[in-house]
Symmetry: C2
Subunit: 385 residues, 2 copies
């Protein structure tokens, strides 16, 4: 198959920042790319061969879009899976497959999948609604404290809550959910795995994540994670196993906990390029976005090693500011060696909205970590109003 | 000035592969970019905020395009300079300035400029036409062999010819030209300099160029050049001096000869991102394209050091093939660690047409050089017909 400067058309469902960074790679390879996104102002509105505005959850919209393409991928999970099933049945290559997406979309089914496949994960219980959860707590089958997770559409701080007292239960939405045992952990880690339709598979190095305590958004992603090599190897082996068991094609970001006694527990996965891999644009021989394109097109996977240490800082909207965005002090961080801001192209900021990220690279990871802190304390995502 | 996700509009004259690679950076920073190019099929047709089709040599077209923008730059030298003069007089920032472009556009004036500013360059004579050149040869003022160069619009093998016998003179076009003394040299080198309107200035490491003997196009660009550190320092110092004397703003690629006795002679300059700097996308902390954007916007210049050694191989159309392009064996080179192809997005190949380039990076420059040779001997730019 000839993908380069040819009539081949890659379709991407979703046109956010992940789509935008994928487009950098499809432009580099001159692969024609069609994007579908509900917003005319989507970050991916430029750089695609064609941009289509439409509802990603609407069967007809997704189906008709898919029929225009030769291969379909996603940059967001919440898309109409029935349309993907139909397209796949009609012979279109859809990577990752709707079957895998269906499994991952529901956190209850995802946890069951880990249990069935002997993939280590924190103990949990599934509940069809809020009432059955409350009864389970009242019957002492589920013990407070625990982590509540909405089964569907929960990410980036939505749909996850720590339940510390019985009164915390009342504010929960009435929805399918899981209650997960709270496990004390040393580190939150992630491993990105790339896998082709032919079964070639490669893992990226383990990254270490630090979360913002309030926003529940990643504050620093550090590559390589500052952990023992044996723990790193274990984490990569488990991530590899997860991708293989899912028969996944494309990128799979596997988020994990390193427990106090150095066990690795899989937290959850994202079946696409991921925030925890953004460092790879500047630090790795092959960026996660190029790797995703290589994987879904069944091209040879690139080298996942790093040239230099990399740390990523998310640029999220400051509290108290909503309106046209200003990146205050961006020229100050541009003056620091090895600092690269990525601006996603959203015109309006809101508190905690993901507006961009900054990568800091250095041969020395401790130097990079110091610079990252300076960057984080210098640049502010604000607005005049 | 707020450039990021704002109403600021950067204009770029020219929409070839250099424009395309600049757009990767303006997208990364979410800077609105308008492109003007004569071809509707230009590599930069995607990724710009707006793409305008029009003649770069036409006063009205360039002037009207410029009026839509807040700052104007170029990715090709051959543009209507009168329009740029007019726009500059009306207060538009034009970088590089039309004054500098006018100097550089004429190789005779460019050589005079080096002489006047004590910048070392090969001895030369200027001629207004072919006849005066022939008379100078007949009078033994100009001695064969010498290098003939058309004063205007000569690059990439057009407009440069080595005159070895008197009969070689007859085939020359009748145009303003220079005759340059042939200097035996060890190496062809290049240094890219970036300079801001405020006068901040940085040089990239010296690169070494190997030319294809027939096509007179660069075959390998090797960074860092495998030369003595003292010679490298001299080359960087001279390149810096050239940029400063020109009062240049943006990138200036300074091509140089290293003579047998390690003198450095300036050959010619290009006032824009340059083929000799493509390696920087994968190898440098700051790519030349990002650096050009930083320079013209008077932002802090980025670190010009390399993370790893880099070698670039140009992908030019094979002789004997014209038509829709096929990148034969591209999947084989993608299987090699540290190999990144860049496909410019030209649908049709022709003999020696620049269709793309491949960067090879490695911690070890000798390993990179071996891989570069494998890449060059593996991938072929051909066509079915």
């Amino acid at each position: 198959m000839n993908y380069f400067s040819s009539d081949f058309k890659l379709g991407i469902l979703g046109g956010g920042q992940l789509g935008k960074m994928l487009l950098t790679e499809t432009r580099k390879f001159d692969i024609q790319t069609y994007i579908l996104d509900p917003s005319a102002e989507a970050p991916s509105q430029y750089g695609a061969t064609r941009f289509f505005q439409g509802d990603l959850m609407d069967f007809e919209t997704v189906y008709r879009f898919g029929k225009k393409t030769d291969l379909l991928t996603i940059e967001i999970e919440n898309v109409n899976l029935d349309a993907l099933d139909q397209l796949e049945q009609e012979g279109l290559a859809v990577y990752p497959s709707p079957k895998t997406l269906r499994l991952i979309q529901n956190k209850g089914r995802q946890k069951d999948f880990y249990s069935e496949n002997n993939i280590p994960t924190a103990p949990y219980r599934r509940f069809t609604d809020k009432n059955s959860l409350i009864q389970s707590v009242e019957n002492n089958e589920t013990n407070i404290p625990f982590v509540w997770k909405s089964a569907q559409f929960g990410y980036d701080g939505n749909g996850v809550k720590i339940i510390r007292t019985a009164s915390d239960l009342t504010s929960l939405p009435d929805t399918e959910c899981i209650a997960e045992q709270m496990i004390p952990f040393k580190n939150e880690l992630a491993v990105i795995v790339s896998r082709t339709p032919s079964g070639s598979i490669k893992t990226y190095p383990v990254v270490e994540m630090e979360f913002h305590p309030e926003a529940n958004q990643v504050e620093y992603v550090i590559c390589p994670a500052r952990i023992d090599e044996t723990v790193a190897q274990k984490a990569r082996a488990i991530a590899l196993q997860v991708s293989e068991k899912f028969n996944h094609v494309g990128l799979l970001a596997v988020e994990m906990f390193q427990t106090e006694d150095d066990a690795i527990l899989v937290n959850e996965v994202a079946p696409r390029p991921h925030n925890s891999g953004h460092y790879s644009i500047e630090a790795s021989y092959t960026s996660q976005f190029e790797q995703h394109i290589r994987a879904i097109l069944d091209l040879p996977l690139g080298n996942t090693d790093s040239k230099v240490a990399g740390i990523m800082v998310n640029l999220v909207g400051e509290e108290g500011y909503s309106g046209p965005v200003i990146y205050q002090n961006i020229e100050k961080i541009l003056a620091i060696d090895g600092v690269t801001p990525h601006i996603y192209g959203k015109r309006e900021t809101r508190p905690f909205r993901k507006m961009g990220h900054v990568t800091i690279v250095n041969e020395n990871i401790d130097e990079a970590r110091k610079t990252a802190e300076i960057v984080k304390n210098t640049i502010k995502v604000i607005s005049h109003s």
